[in-house]
């Protein structure tokens, strides 16, 4: 792991990843190199895997995908298959990425469960006249 911590890659459909990374930078001020976005738009499976593998590189990396399955998730699992300090987290949301921005220096073994918990716990819904709110 670098002195600053793990790097993050968000992989998603269309412009979702770009929008999320842009939002995290605006909220948490994370460095450009520390969290990058990748879209599957117009890319064959091989092209997406190759580009993701290039971005993942070496070192400690968390790859976030929008869905738990599909072309982005498949590419992420292939890119991280060789093991090492790599993790795939599916179902990314903004609170999860902000948590990553502030805690990416933690060891992956502690960081990843923390991200999943943050992502789940910040999903809530409020129905009219219902109490308490529905939460993840």
């Amino acid at each position: 792991m670098s002195e600053m911590g793990a790097r993050g890659v968000v992989v998603g459909h269309g412009t979702l990843a770009m929008g999320m990374v842009d939002a995290v930078r605006r909220i948490a001020g994370i460095d450009e190199d520390a969290l990058v976005a990748l879209s599957n738009e117009g890319k064959s499976p091989d092209a997406l895997r190759d580009e993701l593998a290039r971005i993942v590189g070496t070192g400690s990396v968390v790859v976030f995908t929008d869905m738990h399955a599909g072309s982005c998730a498949v590419a992420a699992r292939v890119a991280c298959r060789s093991g090492g300090q790599r993790a795939v987290v599916c179902g990314v949301n903004l609170p999860m990425l902000i948590e990553f921005a502030f805690h990416r220096s933690d060891p992956l073994e502690e960081l990843v469960p923390r991200l999943v918990e943050q992502g789940r716990s910040t999903i809530t819904a409020h129905l009219p006249h219902a109490d308490p709110p529905i939460s993840g």
Binding site: G42, K43, S44, P45, A69, G70, S71, A73, V74, V78
Partner: protein, 160 residues
């Protein structure tokens, strides 16, 4: 129940197939016909993650699939059949095995020598040759990424 969808898509089982088409067609089974994937268990596991527990996913070589197509067509189970390239679908269709069926081209992406037909569909000379050959085998070939999209007919697919 006939096979609900024959589709050529480089991504094989992915969101557009499972959510876009699956929510309309409600398949019980996905059959992936691919000579390489049929021998790669770890890659098969990746694709199995995409579908729910209630769906069966099979990976077969083209020759194996040719032995099973008629069985699937007459089965009560609803099947969606996928290949990741046109050549595999053509080999499956040889000797008019898919005569009268429709094959959906749902995702062939940009590559060297390929010309854009639609944003999700790029074809080169070899691809167009496969489309022509499928047509000669009695198969109706259409481009269409999602159920709500307009179909792309043979003339547009073959335009160079």
């Amino acid at each position: 129940m006939p096979i609900l969808l024959f589709r050529v898509d480089e991504r094989l089982i992915h969101g557009q197939v499972v959510i876009g088409w699956g929510s309309q067609l409600h398949p019980d089974r996905y059959v992936v016909v691919d000579d390489d994937l049929a021998g790669s268990e770890w890659e098969q596991d990746l694709y199995r993650l995409t579908v729910g527990d209630g769906n069966e996913v099979s990976f077969l070589r083209v020759e194996q699939a040719r032995q099973r197509v008629l069985e699937w067509m007459s089965s009560d189970e609803r099947t969606m059949l996928l290949t990741r390239d046109l050549d595999s679908m053509l080999r499956l269709a040889r000797n008019r095995l898919l005569d009268g069926k429709s094959v959906n081209l749902g995702g062939i992406h940009h590559g060297k020598g390929r010309k854009m037909v639609r944003s999700y569909l790029y074809l080169d000379d070899a691809d167009r040759g496969c489309v022509r050959a499928l047509d000669e085998e009695g198969v109706c070939v259409v481009g269409r990424d999602l159920p709500g999209s307009l179909k792309v007919g043979l003339a547009d697919l073959l335009e160079e």
